[in-house]
């Protein structure tokens, strides 16, 4: 897995016009007398660290939000002692998990037991490679873009099956099997709805997909052109993240805690992290695919021309960049808020209902959606990216 990251970044780095952090970093190191190659090598870990940090901060915020919103939904106050409004509560949780004893059950398979959570977490973190926060603000503008995310997220079920099997516990095994079945079933409609977007954008690259939605601000977002795809994608993403109403793999009433039953300490924390990173990532991708990514509802170019400012002035560049980041995060957290709200307002579905929904309903509809998109693209090439 590490070689994967290494190559994705080393070959493709941050590229394009505008802010080019990599070249400025390399230039500044070269002025200290380092060779170009050494400078590039030193640059390599930085984006990875950045991703890790961003993902962690995202998780901390989400956990805090989840606790606070859940409390509000149940008319409680929620965490309030650790920091102002309890903002430090997630940190305290993390610290607790970090120092807890790491228990491996006696008859469990130690190797697979430890490897499982890692396999769940790593692909999710790797997928952050392709999330753009601005025209050039992403780790790597890989050509296969969104396809990389789909293929990486398909590794996760292996980790779940692995930990379910290695725990040597029937609840764990059942949870792992459920998780894998659910993940496989919902991956297909998910990929098909992504395909419809890709067909309109003529590219797999996330940057291209966002660029095509920012001609006319709010009106040109994909959600208007792909309403069905948007709903399907959102449902599938919830299922992939095992969020309610699709949290069958860890349904407490039936399976104790599913594949996490036997886990404690840091290994449990890895699952916990994985599921929240995945939620934030999914929300980010929904905003990228359907809600115009970093785009402001009114295009920044229009605002600049109304204020009669040149678009490539350094100040405007800076404002555009920060607006982009803020917009992406804002949209993503709105979706996270929606997911948390759904958690407290919908009941859990049964496993057969879940599979029926996936195979008999979402799959045909997403196929029809794809066909209709293709037809519309041929009929109205202007509106559907001909």
């Amino acid at each position: 897995m590490m070689t994967f990251t290494f190559f994705a970044t080393s070959y493709l780095g941050i590229a394009g016009p505008g802010l080019d952090l990599k070249s400025s970093f390399v230039d500044s190191l070269q002025s200290f007398g380092l060779s170009t190659e050494m400078a590039r090598l030193l640059w390599l870990p930085l984006p990875m660290l950045l991703v890790l940090t961003a993902a962690m901060v995202g998780v901390l915020v989400t956990v805090w939000l989840e606790r606070k919103i859940s409390a509000a939904a149940q008319q409680r106050i929620g965490p309030e002692f650790a920091g102002a409004l309890g903002v430090l509560q997630p940190m305290a949780d993390g610290l607790k998990l970090l120092v807890k004893e790491d228990v491996i059950p006696a008859r469990a398979d130690g190797l697979l037991f430890s490897l499982g959570p890692v396999l769940v977490l790593v692909p999710v973190i790797l997928s952050w490679l392709i999330v753009p926060f601005g025209q050039t603000l992403l780790i790597s503008n890989v050509g296969v873009g969104i396809f990389l995310w789909i293929s990486l997220s398909s590794i996760q079920p292996i980790g779940l099956l692995m930990s379910g099997y290695a725990s040597n516990n029937k609840y764990s095994l059942l949870g792992g099997l459920r998780a894998a079945a659910q993940s496989i079933s919902y991956e297909i409609p998910l990929a098909l709805s992504v395909l419809a977007v890709v067909m309109m954008s003529n590219s797999l690259s996330t940057v291209e997909i966002v660029n095509l939605q920012n001609d006319a601000g709010l009106l040109s977002w994909n959600v208007w052109r792909q309403p069905v795809g948007f709903v399907i994608f959102w449902i599938c993403v919830l299922a992939e993240c095992e969020r309610l109403p699709f949290d069958l793999p860890e349904a407490e009433e039936e399976l104790v805690a599913g594949y996490q039953t036997e886990y404690a300490g840091m290994k449990f924390a890895l699952f916990y992290l994985g599921s929240y990173i995945n939620l934030v990532l999914s929300a980010l991708l929904v905003s990228v695919l359907y809600l115009g990514g970093w785009g402001f509802p009114i295009p920044v170019e229009w605002l600049a021309s109304w204020l009669s400012q040149p678009i490539d002035a350094p100040l405007i560049q800076l404002v555009t960049g920060s607006v982009g980041i803020v917009m992406t995060v804002l949209k993503a957290y709105l979706l996270v808020f929606l997911a948390i709200l759904l958690r407290w307002t919908t009941p859990r579905v049964r496993i057969d209902q879940l599979l029926d929904l996936g195979w008999k309903f979402l799959l045909p509809i997403s196929l029809v959606n794809l066909l209709v998109t293709a037809a519309l693209k041929l009929l109205f090439p202007l509106a559907f990216g001909g």
Binding site: V144, I150, I155, Y165, E187
Partner: protein, 200 residues
Amino acid sequence: MTIATSTELICFLVLSTVIVLGSLGVVLLENIVYSAFMLGGVFMAVAGLYLLLNASFVAAAQVLVYVGAVNVLIIFAIMLVNKREELKPIKGLRLRRIVSGAVCIGLLVLLVRVAIITPWPLPGPIAIGEEATARIGEHLFTDYLLPFELASVLLLMAMIGAIVLARRDVYDSELLAGDDMKEGLIEQTPTPLLVDKSSP
């Protein structure tokens, strides 16, 4: 040797080692679950090799199809039927192992020798990198159109056949009163045509 080429070489060596050892593990390990997980590792390492060849689309497709679908299904199947069963000892197992090992080694020697003495047309075509996705699409809809379309028939038929073989037939006699079962799903009771009369 620059840093780029040496890292490439190191990555190649690491990936190849993973593939070779992993494949041996898949074949030789006694625990079938370990074999299945190792197979996943081998598939990932192969995807890594594709990345080294600058073929990111093929690498992603490899991960999606082989790790995400094929390997998960294999593990799934193993977990569903994982029954601990004492296998009957096979007669002359040691001899069989030696023979099959010798055949495999002979084949390996042959392949290596042929690979060494063949004059390869080097260097091969230049990798087209990011353009590959578009190029694959063009090929699928021009000179590989026929196999591409036929593959859809193949998949359709395989899917239908798998359902036919795997579905649980419902017979009249098994229906309990009050079950809401559609009429069309009830099978007629099968009668094997050729009765095996050789063993009374």
